[in-house]
Symmetry: C2
Subunit: 181 residues, 2 copies
DNA sequence: GTCTATAATTCGATAGAC
DNA sequence: GTCTATCGAATTATAGAC
């Protein structure tokens, strides 16, 4: 069965995202990715040049934060954590960044950019003391990423067992306090 | 210069801990560790058998929680975060576990054990509803590990810029609420 | 567009001389 | 106790046939 150029590229990219998400950068081999995609390893090189470029293509990610101005100030915390859970469960891009960023400085830098630039606008909602804005958004990052780490990566049993509603009820007030408390 | 068996072993272990802490398991090579220790790679094999055993020797870690019964109930949150910051900054064992556990199931399992068994006794302090104990200690894990991840591993600028006192003041009440709120 | 063959490198591990 | 030499496996990457 001969596929089109685009089909092959898409299949490779999908397999690459899965492998990078579950194995990290080092352990995700081009051979395994090609095998998953049902093609020859040489095809991966043909379409993406080398492993680094394949990773770059597979690891794009956007927090896709909702319009913060449209959210009632008192609902910021719960809305944020709810949104993050959605993004984590429906896009493996964040899993890729976390699993690779902990041992790859370039990826870590990318995460710094994402969280600084996309979470930064949140600071605009904190009218009282603008100088506290970076610290507050930073604290939000720690709780959100910590939940993702424990629930989806390390799978700590008590955290994995929490229902979505429980998480929203527990972390919502925490984020709310970090942001406007 | 001929060293004693113990000296060599200690030097290898120190170099191994640094490498595993900064590079994770895959990228930390026996060759690099031996080079750091100023000896031949063959010596590493001689003293530790193989890479896995070397890692096991380098990755032992204990949260060393203080006696929780001696802490006033209302000071649990601040005491806990303060203790965690101390442990993290004075023992690279936790950094090793975090940097390797995200892509190594065996290490992840070890982290699950550590946080379950060593943080479990905290549940004994929660007299009201024992059924909530696991969830509460799990939530503590998310905030503590999230802080470590953002501050020491990813080095998000706003989080790395926080002073120790600021962290205690912000996270203390969060942990307090997760535990007894 | 797909695959075979293979080069070049890296790494873990072993054997054995000194 | 230390090192040289080397094996064998795995992996990225290239060249080229079909």
């Amino acid at each position: 069965m001969r596929r089109s150029s685009e089909d092959t590229k898409t299949a490779i990219l999908a397999a690459a995202r899965e492998r990078f998400a579950s194995d990290g950068y080092q352990r995700a081999t081009i051979r395994a990715i090609a095998s998953d995609a049902g093609i020859d390893p040489a095809m991966v090189m043909r379409y993406f040049g080398n492993k680094e470029k394949l990773f770059a293509a597979a690891a794009d990610f956007d927090l896709k934060l909702p319009d913060l101005m449209a959210i009632p100030r008192e609902a910021l915390g719960k809305t944020l954590i709810s949104h993050f859970l959605d993004r984590w469960e429906n896009d493996e891009g964040m899993m890729i960044l976390l699993r690779t960023g902990v041992t790859n400085e370039a990826v870590a830098e990318r995460m710094r950019e994402i969280f600084a630039r996309q979470l930064g606008p949140l600071a605009a909602r904190l009218c009282d003391d603008p100088s506290q804005a970076p610290a507050r958004t930073g604290l939000v990052s720690t709780q959100v990423l910590g939940m993702a780490l424990c629930r989806y990566v390390l799978r700590l049993p008590p955290v994995a067992a929490l229902s979505r509603d429980e998480i929203v009820d527990w972390l919502g007030p925490t984020l709310q306090r970090y942001l406007v408390g």
